[in-house]
């Protein structure tokens, strides 16, 4: 049986520590050659928006962690199309350098493909 894992990123970048700690877990697993696939869902899609200015609220940029993903072998991310539409985020505005974005219309079907889902 496959043990392939999907990491689910559901938190807006600076509202919950779990957004950062989720990405850290993804990077750590990737560093061990166990890179999970990653799906951004719900408020998690806010992590992908460019022009974040977290220094204004004394936070470190989470976008930088995203930019590190390709270095650890994560070169494609799944993004929920409906989550973007619900929040008025255009698909053009969520580019992360070096990462291919694959829009997903049926997140449930995607989740069903994985043995494990780590939800952050």
């Amino acid at each position: 049986m496959s043990t392939h894992t999907l990491a689910l990123c559901r938190q807006a970048p600076y509202g919950s520590a779990l957004a950062r700690e989720g990405l850290e877990a993804v990077l750590a697993a990737a560093a061990m050659d166990q890179a999970p696939d990653v799906l951004f869902l719900g408020d998690g899609v806010f992590q992908l928006t460019a022009d974040q200015a977290p220094q204004e609220i004394g936070q470190k940029s989470l976008y930088r962690n995203l930019q590190a993903l390709p270095m650890f072998g994560v070169e494609r991310i799944y993004v929920c199309r409906q989550s973007l539409a619900d929040r008025g985020i255009s698909t053009e505005s969520i580019a992360v350098p070096g990462i291919e974005v694959e829009l997903v219309t049926d997140p449930g079907a995607l989740l069903a493909r994985y043995q494990h889902v780590l939800s952050f």
Binding site: E21, A28, A29, M32
Partner: protein
């Protein structure tokens, strides 16, 4: 079946922490293997030996330690998340020049690699808290 649990909630912050404990007991009671419990995000507060809830409230520390003793369950507190939140072993307190250590007996500090390993080794990974 081999289970691992991931706990994101601090004890006493909501139902998720108590649910994790009850689920862990149920896993063991039904003859399954509990490979690892990984405490992450606010869940790292489970590893604090200093929590002192009122006597008529649920104790969410001793039961985990008993589970560890009776069933050799691996209780891993994420070291990076724990440092942020002030859950330190003696060696970490010394290394980081902090005035005290509070990691409870039975818990160990470990890296995120142990979460990846638990995911790879277990048939089921169940997450508690986080929303």
């Amino acid at each position: 079946m081999k289970f691992s649990l991931v706990v994101y909630s601090a004890p006493h912050a909501g139902e998720a922490a108590a649910s994790a404990l009850r689920f862990a007991r149920a896993v063991v009671d039904q003859g399954h293997e509990l490979y690892r419990v990984f405490f992450y995000a606010d869940g790292v507060h489970h590893g604090s030996a200093l929590a002192a809830p009122p006597q008529d409230e649920q104790d969410l520390l001793t039961p985990w330690q008993e589970l560890r003793q009776a069933n050799d369950v691996d209780l891993v507190v994420c070291i990076a998340a724990a440092q942020r939140r002030g859950v330190l072993s003696h060696s970490e307190a010394e290394r980081l020049e902090r005035p005290a250590a509070n990691l409870a007996d039975g818990f160990e500090l470990g890296g995120l690699g142990q979460l990846a390993d638990a995911t790879a080794q277990s048939d089921r990974v169940v997450t508690f808290g986080g929303q």
